[in-house]
Symmetry: C2
Subunit: 405 residues, 2 copies
C-alpha cells in the first residue's frame, strides 16, 4: 500500500450530481486510509496551483454528509488550461503535502489536465496515482458508455419539454411555436433526450435538431411549416451547437473560452427570428441554460447512484495501484439495466469526444431513433433525494477557510 495523502478537486461546468462522485470518493478514502490526510483543491487545478487547499477533516460532518445532496461544484471548480510551466509547480506542491493520490473530477479538458499531471509526475520521478473521475452533462467522453451527470440533464430536459409541451398544445392561439435551446456543445446527447417526452404523436417535441448532422436552414423552415400546417403548433428542441457541418454555427458568438472552444449561445433566439421572418409565425424561445446542469431537485437516481459509485471505485482503483486511468461506466445489459464500473487509460480519453452516432438520428435529420431512446431511458430512472427547508431545497457549501493549509 502506497502511504501518503490524497487530493481531490473538480473542474469544468457542474452537473446536478457532480458532488455525488466527490462524496463517494471522500467517504471511501476516509474509511480505507484513516491515517492519511484528504485534501480538497478548491477551484480545481487553478486553486491547487495557488495552494488554495483545505484539509477536509476540518469540514463539518453536516457538510460532508449532505454534499451529495447539493448541486454545483461542492469543492469549487475552474476552467483553467494548465500551462507547461505549471507542471513542475504542481508536482512540487504535491510533494510538499506528500500527496500520493490525485483524484480529478471533470470532463474532456479535465481528463487532459489529469493526463498531463500523470505525465509530469512520471517525468519528475514522483510516485503519485492519478485517477480521472468523469462527469459531463454533454455525455461526450469516449470509452465510457455514458457520463455521470448526463442522466440528470436528460431527465430535466425531457420533463421540461413534456411540461412546456402540455402548456403549448393545450392553449389555442394563433402562431404557436416553442423553441427550447438545449446544451451539449458539439454533442446532441442532451438535446436528443428531449424526445423521451413524446409518448403520443401529438406530444412535444415535434422536431429535434442535433449538431452531429449538418443543419440546413431551408430544411428547417420546411419542417416547421409542415408541422405547423398539420398540427397548428410546433415544439422544437435545438442543440446550442447546430451547425452546417463546415464549422459555421447557427449561433456563432465569435468568442472563445480559455480552451479555445467557441462560446455558443443563441441558436434558439436566432432560429426564432428566422421563423418569424420567413413564416410570419410568433415564436417563444425557452433557454433553460444552466438549469440543465444544476437541477438536482428532479435529478435521476440512477445517475446520482452511478456518480457516487464512480467516486468510490476511483479510490478503490488507486489503492489497488492503478494510475493514469479514468473510471468508466460499462453497460452490461439494457433490459434489465445493469451497469458496472471499469477503467480506461487517460491517454485514450483526453481531448477526445464522442457524439451521437449518426445512425441514431432519423434520415430527415429532425428526430432521434428508437435506439437513441433505448440508450438513454435507463439513465433517467428514479429521483435522487434532496433535503428540504421552508419549501425549498436545503443545499450546503464548503467553508473555504476551515482546514486551509
Amino acid at each position: 500500500m502506497l502511504k501518503g495523502n490524497a487530493i481531490i478537486a473538480q473542474s469544468g461546468g457542474p452537473t446536478a450530481v457532480f458532488n455525488n462522485t466527490i462524496s463517494g470518493a471522500i467517504k471511501r478514502f476516509m474509511e480505507k486510509m484513516p491515517d492519511s490526510k484528504l485534501y480538497a483543491g478548491l477551484y480545481g487545478i487553478e486553486g491547487i496551483l495557488k495552494e488554495n487547499i483545505v484539509d477536509l477533516s476540518y469540514q463539518s460532518r453536516f457538510f460532508l454528509e449532505n454534499l451529495r445532496y447539493s448541486p454545483g461544484a461542492g469543492l469549487l471548480s475552474c476552467r483553467y488550461k494548465v500551462q507547461p510551466e505549471d507542471h513542475k509547480k504542481l508536482i512540487d506542491i504535491c510533494k510538499k503535502y506528500n500527496i500520493r493520490y490525485f483524484f480529478y473530477n471533470g470532463g474532456n479538458d479535465s481528463m487532459d489536465t489529469a493526463y498531463n499531471t500523470y505525465l509530469a509526475a512520471k517525468e519528475m520521478g514522483y510516485e503519485m496515482r492519478i485517477i480521472g473521475l468523469p462527469k459531463t452533462i454533454d455525455n461526450d467522453l469516449v470509452i465510457t458508455d455514458h457520463c455521470p451527470g448526463y442522466g440528470s440533464a436528460a431527465k430535466f430536459l425531457a420533463t421540461t419539454v413534456m411540461e412546456t409541451g402540455y402548456d403549448l398544445i393545450s392553449v389555442s392561439t394563433k402562431n404557436k411555436v416553442t423553441i427550447v435551446e438545449a446544451m451539449g456543445r458539439d454533442a446532441g446527447w442532451v438535446t436528443g433526450a428531449a424526445a423521451l417526452a413524446k409518448r403520443d404523436p401529438d406530444d412535444a417535441p415535434h422536431l429535434v435538431y442535433l449538431p452531429e448532422v449538418p443543419f440546413s436552414l431551408d430544411n428547417f423552415i420546411e419542417d416547421v411549416d409542415r408541422v405547423y400546417s398539420e398540427r397548428g403548433c410546433v415544439f422544437i428542441v435545438v442543440s446550442e451547437g447546430v451547425n452546417d457541418g463546415m464549422g459555421h454555427y447557427v449561433a456563432d458568438g465569435g468568442t472563445k473560452d480559455s480552451f479555445g472552444h467557441v462560446q455558443l449561445a443563441g441558436a434558439g433566439e436566432t432560429l426564432k427570428r428566422v421563423i418569424e421572418q420567413r413564416l410570419g409565425l410568433k415564436v417563444r424561445c425557452n433557454t433553460p441554460g444552466t438549469a440543465q446542469r444544476s437541477s438536482l431537485h428532479f435529478a435521476s437516481k440512477v445517475d446520482a447512484d452511478e456518480a457516487y459509485m464512480v467516486g468510490e471505485k476511483g479510490v478503490d482503483f488507486a489503492l489497488e495501484g492503478e494510475s493514469g486511468i479514468m473510471v468508466t461506466l460499462d453497460r452490461i445489459s439494457n433490459d434489465p439495466y445493469i451497469c458496472e464500473v471499469g477503467k480506461a487509460d487517460l491517454s485514450k480519453v483526453a481531448n477526445r469526444v464522442k457524439g451521437v452516432p449518426v445512425e441514431w438520428i432519423t434520415p430527415d435529420r429532425n428526430f432521434v431513433t428508437k435506439e437513441f431512446l433505448d440508450y438513454v431511458r435507463p439513465l433517467i430512472m428514479g429521483e435522487a433525494p434532496i433535503n428540504m427547508k421552508d419549501g425549498l431545497p436545503l443545499y450546503v457549501k464548503i467553508d473555504r477557510y476551515k482546514g486551509l493549509v
Copy 2:
C-alpha cells in the same frame, strides 16, 4: 335549488396547478348535482361559441382522477376576446344545453369575459349563475390575497435560481454574470419570489428588478459593476416587464396580442448585450419561459391544495345562489399560515391589476423587502404529488371526441 346543467372552461395561459381548480369543481359538482350534466367547453369561450363542448361523464375515470396531477390546460384554453356580437350567441348556446351554472377559470381577461357573460345573461333574462375561478402565475388579480398558480411559479423560480446560483458561484471563471428573465408581465410577483433563494449574503440572486418601479439602465449598470467588484460574479433576476415608468419597456417587441397587451420578450437578452457592451463582462441569460407556469414536477402543495379548494368552493357558492362573483383566497394569518375562501364581485375584479406594493421593493430598486418574502414564503410550502412512469411524469390529456355534443 336551481335545476339544470353546468359548463366549465379554462382561459389564458396555464399554471402548474390550473387543473386542480377544474378537478375540485368537477368532483364537487358531480357529487352535489348527480342528475345534472357537467359540460366542458374545450378551448375556453372560443370553443363554447363553436359548440366545441363535451359531456364530462363520457371521459375516463383515469382522466378525471388524474387531471389534477397534470399541467397545462386540461380542458384546453384560449386567448380570445369576446366581441359584443358573441354575447347573444353564447347565451343561446347555454339555453340550448340548459346550462344554468357557468364556471370560468382564468386571469384578468377571463374575469372580464365572465363578467360580460353575467351581464349578457341578465340582460337577456336568462337565469344562469356565473362564477369566476381565479388563476394566474402573475398573481395580479385584485381583492384576492394571492392567485392559484402563483405559489408554484414562485417555488419553481426560487428553486431554479438557487440551483443555477450554486452553479454560477461555484465555478471560477472570469466575467461571470447570469441573468434570469422572469415572467409576470407588468407585475413583479414571480420575479420577486426568486429572492427566496437567498439564504446567505453570498447566495443568488444578488440583484432583482421588478416592473413596478422605473428601471434605469445607468443605475442597473452601476449595480452590476459594484456587485461584480465585490464578489467576482453577479446573479440577476429581471422581470420581463421592466420599463422606465413612462411606458417604454426594456424589451418592447412592438407586437400586441388579441387583448391589445404588448408582447414582452427579451428583457434578459437586451440587458445581457448592454452589460457586455458597457462593462465588457461575459453574460449568460437563462430564460425558463413557460416552464414557470407548467413545472408541476416541483409545484407547491399549498398552491395545489388551494387551487383545488377554489374549484370546490366555486361550486358551493353557485349552488348557494351566488352569481357574478370570483372566488378569492383570504389570508387569515401568516404564522401559522391560515387561508380561507371568500368571494368578490366580478365587476370589481375584471380588467384590474394589482402590482407589488412599491414599499415592498428596496429603496435602491434592486431587491425586495422582508415583507415581500414573508408574504410569499407560506405559498411555496410542500410538493404537490404527481404520477411517474419510466422516469418521467405521467400526465393525462382530455379525449376531445368523447362525449362531444
